[in-house]
C-alpha cells in the first residue's frame, strides 16, 4: 500500500517534470536560443574548433529545435522522478507542511542546491566560451560542486530539524541558514576558479545567455513545484492510514 504510494508519486513526478520541461523548453527556445546563435556566430568568426562548427552530423536547425526539446524534456522527466523520490523522503519529515507546500519547498530547495549554488561558482557557458582541453576538469568540478551543494543542503535541513526543539523554529532556521551560507562559502573558496571567456567575447551576450539559463531553471522548478504539488495532493488524498473505513475504493485518483 505504501509502496503503491511511492509508485504513484514517482509517476506523477515524472509527469510534472514533463510539464515543467515543456514550459522550460519555451523559455529556452525564445530566451536562450538567440544567445546560443550569437555565441556560435562568434565562434565561427573566430575560425572555430567546436564539433558542431565545421561538419556537423546534426544540423543547427535540428539542434536548436528537436535536439533542444529532447535534452530539456528528458532533463525534466528525469529530475521530476528524482524530485518525486526525494519528496517521498521529505513528506512529513521536514515540518508541518501539506502536500502542496512540501512540493513547492522541495522544488525551491532543488533549484537552489542543484542549480543556483553551483552556478554561482561555475556559471553556465555558451558555445565558444570554454577551452576544450579543460572540458574534463570543468565537468568534474561542476558535478563535484553539485554533489557538495546537495550534501550541504541536506545537512542544513537535518541541522535545522535538530536545533528546532532547543532554539525554536525561527532561530533554528536562521542558524541552519547561516551554516548553509558558511559551508557553501568554504566550498567556493577551496574549489579552483574557472574563467574560459575568450578575448573579445561580448559581455552582454554572456550575460544574456547566463540569465536565460537561470530563467530556464527557475521556470522548470516553479512549474514542477506547482504541478507536482497538485498531483501529489490528489495521489495522497485517500490517506489509507487515516480512514480505515472508507478506503476500499479510492475513486478520485486517476490512473
Amino acid at each position: 500500500m505504501n509502496s503503491a504510494t511511492v509508485r504513484h508519486l514517482l509517476v506523477r513526478g515524472m509527469l510534472a517534470g514533463l510539464a515543467a520541461g515543456v514550459a522550460a523548453l519555451l523559455v529556452a527556445y525564445f530566451l536562450g536560443e538567440p544567445s546560443v546563435r550569437g555565441a556560435i556566430d562568434f565562434e565561427k568568426a573566430k575560425a572555430a574548433h567546436h564539433g558542431g562548427g565545421d561538419d556537423p552530423l546534426v544540423s543547427r536547425a535540428l539542434q536548436s529545435t528537436a535536439g533542444l526539446s529532447t535534452g530539456i524534456l528528458v532533463y525534466g522527466v528525469a529530475f521530476g522522478g528524482i524530485a518525486a523520490l526525494a519528496y517521498c523522503f521529505a513528506l512529513g519529515r521536514i515540518g508541518r507542511f501539506g502536500p502542496r507546500a512540501s512540493a513547492l519547498l522541495l522544488a525551491a530547495a532543488v533549484l537552489v542546491a542543484v542549480y543556483l549554488v553551483p552556478f554561482l561558482k561555475y556559471p553556465a557557458n555558451p558555445p565558444a566560451v570554454g577551452n576544450p582541453d579543460t572540458l574534463q576538469e570543468r565537468t568534474a568540478l561542476y558535478f563535484l560542486m553539485i554533489v557538495l551543494s546537495v550534501l550541504i543542503a541536506v545537512a542544513t535541513v537535518i541541522l535545522g530539524k535538530r536545533l528546532a526543539p532547543r532554539l525554536g523554529t525561527w532561530n533554528a532556521t536562521v542558524a541552519a541558514g547561516a551554516f548553509f551560507v558558511l559551508a557553501v562559502g568554504l566550498a567556493f573558496v577551496f574549489l579552483p576558479a574557472q574563467d574560459n571567456t575568450p578575448a573579445g567575447f561580448p559581455a552582454t551576450l554572456l550575460w544574456d545567455f547566463r540569465l536565460a539559463t537561470l530563467a530556464v531553471q527557475s521556470t522548470l522548478w516553479t512549474v514542477f513545484g506547482l504541478v507536482f504539488g497538485v498531483l501529489a495532493e490528489r495521489a495522497l488524498a485517500p490517506a489509507p492510514a487515516e480512514r480505515p473505513e472508507t478506503s476500499a475504493s479510492p475513486a478520485p485518483v486517476a490512473g
Binding site: L57, N125, F209
Partner: protein, 72 residues
C-alpha cells in the same frame, strides 16, 4: 503504519511519513535510471563517452548548454 507522534486526530493537512524501507528500493533503482538519463543529456560524448562519435553530443548540444552543463 508509520504513525507520527502525537497525532491530534483531527483534520491536519500534514501527510503521514512513508517508511524509509519502502522508499529505498524505488529510490535506488529509479534514482539510478534517472541519473543515467541525466548523464546522457549532461555529459555523454563530452568529458566521458560510452558511445563513440559525436551524435549524442550534437543532438542534445543546445540543451546541454542551456541547462548549465559544461559542453565543450
Amino acid at each position: 503504519m508509520a504513525q507520527s507522534i502525537a497525532q491530534p486526530t483531527s483534520t491536519t493537512a500534514v501527510p503521514a511519513t512513508l517508511p524509509i524501507g519502502v522508499i529505498a528500493p524505488w529510490a535506488f533503482f529509479f534514482g539510478l535510471l534517472m541519473l543515467v538519463l541525466l548523464y546522457f543529456v549532461g555529459a555523454e560524448q563530452g568529458a566521458t563517452a560510452i558511445f563513440s562519435g559525436t551524435g549524442v553530443h550534437e543532438w542534445v548540444h543546445d540543451g546541454r548548454h542551456l541547462l548549465g552543463f559544461p559542453c565543450h
